[in-house]
């Protein structure tokens, strides 16, 4: 198993080394939203992966919870400049969800309940870099933080970690998402400070 609480691997770097350029540390967990908080009943929740060949793989809430679980501890970086260290999550690795999905796609478009979308290269979802999380800090994930389940892809700015995630569309061509079509960077690497278009 590759991913075991990366925050606890080896010697902890000091907080300064973990702060990307232009960021400051917070202890609270600010809520940013682009719309009303969707309320998704668990008996109607589903997560889907749609391939570029038109195949769809679906998981109900019970099927999703039955998948192997991981508990990553990660630092998260919001484009509005706050960084929160050592956040603890529970969820399913995208490596597990995409294991039996046949695809040659290079891009992924994440879509959410409520209509939010965000795009990233498919390879950024693989190799222990991303999870669909349903618990935060030992508790069920609250709706205002994206519950029942949200994407966690901590190596990119946090707008890529879509709340209320509903599925992933695998695509041969890149398709910019909600903030990526309104001035924000298409990739969003906090260590290269890719906040806006052209950064």
């Amino acid at each position: 198993m590759g991913i075991i609480s990366r925050g606890f691997q080896g010697r902890r770097r000091d907080a300064g080394d973990r702060l990307p350029p232009g960021q400051y540390l917070v202890d609270d967990f600010p809520v940013l939203s682009a719309g009303p908080t969707p309320r998704v009943p668990l008996d109607r929740w589903e997560f889907a992966v749609d391939t570029e060949a038109g195949q769809t793989h679906r998981w109900s809430w019970a099927e999703f919870l039955a998948l192997p679980q991981e508990t990553p501890t990660v630092d998260i970086h919001c484009v509005t400049k706050w960084t929160k260290l050592d956040t603890t999550w529970q969820g399913v690795s995208l490596d597990v969800l995409l294991e039996d999905v046949e695809t040659a796609a290079d891009y992924a478009l994440i879509y959410s309940y409520g209509g939010y979308t965000t795009n990233l290269p498919l390879e950024d979802l693989l190799d222990g870099q991303a999870w669909i999380a349903h618990r935060f800090d030992g508790e069920e994930l609250e709706p205002r933080h994206g519950g029942p389940a949200r994407l966690i892809v901590p190596h990119l700015y946090f707008w890529k970690s879509a709340k209320w995630v509903r599925g992933i569309r695998l695509l041969n061509e890149d398709y910019p998402g909600f903030w990526e079509t309104a001035g924000y960077n298409n990739y969003g690497d906090p260590w290269r400070e890719q906040r806006y278009e052209g950064d």
């Binding site: 719309g35 009303p36 908080t37 209509g115």
Partner: protein, 88 residues
């Protein structure tokens, strides 16, 4: 959850940087449901990462404004038209 969003007048400052007229008093038509009303009646979410104005009828996105360093981005895809009253 009525306190989740801001008043439509929150758009006045950022839009005032872009337009010479006060756009919050302009009449817009929602591209999704056709509802017509002043921009100030939109349900506004934000201000960060950007202002999102949603239709009070159908909650779809009517306009978005992102203010970055040295630039602003305005997305009006959700707006059919804006009627701005002007002197003859």
């Amino acid at each position: 959850m009525t306190a989740e969003h801001l008043d439509g007048n929150a758009l006045a400052g950022p839009l005032g940087e872009i337009f010479a007229v006060d756009v919050t008093s302009a009449t817009g038509r929602c591209a999704h449901c056709g509802l017509t009303g002043p921009v100030a009646s939109l349900l506004v979410y934000g201000p960060d990462p950007g202002l999102v104005g949603r239709c009070p009828g159908c909650e779809e996105v009517v306009l978005r404004v992102v203010r970055g360093p040295g630039a602003a981005w305005l997305d009006l895809r959700g707006t059919v038209s804006l009627r701005v009253n002007l002197p003859d």
